[in-house]
């Protein structure tokens, strides 16, 4: 038997299904995105950039893309601001407490997004728990409007995605030599200086990796914006869904999906480039 044969045989089944179930559908979607759609005649077998031009020109889509990436940036920043300190605090906890807190923070990742989003709908709805409590205590007289607002979507997405940030930073912190902090202190650095000059630069790769995951997942989030945003606050993913399953304009939906995919890939690739250039000399 040739030595190069076994690895291809071992990979063969998986490669086959990936080609049949991933490459072919993706290529077909790409082709579909160049077709046009007639409200009466359905999908037409012609090719052109018109779907892409429509997305680029129409202010309706501008607003949707701006909202999607605005939400993604906001969610990523908030996740950094609360997730990174939480990971640091976890790393300084006693072992028992730490495993309990980790379980509480990472566990929700295993619970369906739909359940977690429902929790927020119950909390922030007009008849929701927060309004019920605030009205009951007498702080407010009319219910606060939080459901169907961008703010509500951001908070819920932070909740859904912040575990990824904690996990990412926590993994980096674990690789840190605890004596390095002691070394900085012994050389006369204050606790704050140690945190800023010694700990933070070392966890930056973790923060960046976490940001990447959070950003990409927020930009393509569907369930949370759909349930908490309602019909009017559309994002890219819910727009593609509507084009497919309500308007039935598959070619336009496909074009939106392709743009979303390309944007995601560009962000991930340029991030990897950046990290490689910046950290290759420093970290393993």
């Amino acid at each position: 038997m040739k030595t190069w044969l076994p690895p291809y045989l071992l990979n063969g089944p998986a490669l086959l299904i990936f080609v049949v179930m991933l490459v072919v559908p993706m290529v077909m979607t790409l082709i579909l995105s160049f077709n046009s759609f007639d409200f009466y005649g359905g999908i037409q077998e012609d090719y052109g950039w018109h779907n892409y031009l429509e997305v680029v020109k129409d202010s309706y889509f501008h607003e949707i893309f701006a909202r999607t990436y605005g939400i993604a940036i906001a969610v990523t920043l908030i996740c950094i601001i609360i997730g990174a300190p939480e990971a640091y605090i976890l790393s300084r906890m006693s072992k028992t407490w730490r495993s309990l807190c980790l379980l509480a923070i990472l566990g929700p990742l295993l619970i369906s997004v739909i359940v977690r989003t429902l929790g927020w709908a119950l909390l922030i709805g007009n008849n929701g728990v927060i309004n019920e409590v605030l009205l009951g205590v007498g702080i407010i007289e009319t219910p606060l409007k939080m459901m169907f607002t961008t703010g509500g979507i951001v908070v819920a997405l932070v909740h859904v995605l912040v575990p990824f940030m904690v996990l990412s930073v926590w993994t980096t912190l674990q690789k840190l030599d605890p004596q390095v902090e002691s070394a900085a202190l012994s050389l006369g650095a204050s606790h704050f200086t140690t945190l800023r000059r010694v700990v933070l630069p070392q966890v930056m790769p973790g923060v960046l990796a976490g940001s990447l995951i959070v950003f990409a997942l927020t930009a393509s989030a569907f369930a949370t914006p759909s349930i908490l945003g309602g019909r009017r606050l559309k994002v890219v993913a819910t727009t593609a869904y509507d084009e497919y399953l309500n308007t039935l304009n598959w070619p336009l939906g496909a074009a939106i999906a392709v743009i979303l995919l390309i944007a995601n890939v560009v962000v991930v690739m340029s991030y990897n480039r950046y990290v490689e250039r910046k950290y290759a000399a420093v970290f393993d």
């Binding site: 002691s182 070394a183 012994s186 050389l187 000059r197 420093v282």
Partner: protein, 350 residues
Amino acid sequence: MSFLTLQNISKRYGQVAAVEDFNLSVEKGEFVSFLGPSGCGKTTTLQMIAGFEEPTTGAIHIDGSDMTHVAPNARDIGIVFQSYALFPHMTVTENVGFGLEMRGINKPERDQRVTETLELVRLAEFADRYPKALSGGQRQRVALARAIVIKPQLLLLDEPLSALDAKIRESMQVELRNIQHTVGVTTILVTHDQAEAMAMSDRIAVMNMGRMAQLGEPFEIYENPGDSFTSNFLGTTNLFPGKVIAVKGEEVSVDCSGTEVRVQGKSQTGAELSVAIRPEKIGLVEPGSGFFDARVRTRIFLGTSWAYQMDSDLGAFNVTLQNTGHLVAGEGEMVGISWQADAVRLLGAG
């Protein structure tokens, strides 16, 4: 008053005592080692001197001022950590300059002192590298440079050579000792390696189970170990348990499993104790002409010496003979055992 004094230091974690009633005075410029097995409290003691742990009781003074509760970043102590704890995101220069920067020293002076120190540790040409691109020995020297560049009152070395290969470790021992002499800084070394402690220190504090077992110069405690723990931790020792049958002035006769052994020392008739003799101080003579006879069980050639395991009426014991170029007694042969009168020590029962 001594430069560094530890007075009645204890450290307890709940019911567990890590360090118990530890006293030590170190003179300026002195090199003292804490030697002991893991868990003996030597690292905890170092952590208390550094300020990372607070003693449960007792006081620490450096150069006359009470440092017991001073924060680690205000103690002016240079530390070389076991893992080196270099800042991976900083170059060698930035690593070494960090402590000077924290002291608000301006850039020109900082650069000059960093350069001088890197020359001292022979790392000048690696100044712009990141720690990742250095070998273990080089990282170790960066850690040392970073600790001494701030001209600390006190230098603490926490198992600094334990991560190095045997060969580099030996050359680093000499280098470290030389640098310490050049700089003249008072130094505490924590180690579990008795050869390292003996090679480098002015004095050794042997520690066991949170307490100081013995304190003294390397030669002195090697030759006159206070107890069986110290005598076995520094080198190896043959111990023959026995009972004192007669005391004549400075000469004690001990009955070891039926054989009478005479030892110089003090004791009283009827006391249960051990006769201790180091393997390299035993001589082999013709059978019947020594104190007693023994049979060679195994003989191993080590290049500079021969290592014997012997069986005798007193029990099994070890002998080390210098290799003089002549063949010596082989396995299974009977030999006589002798030694110089002052080579034997009496140790408490154990």
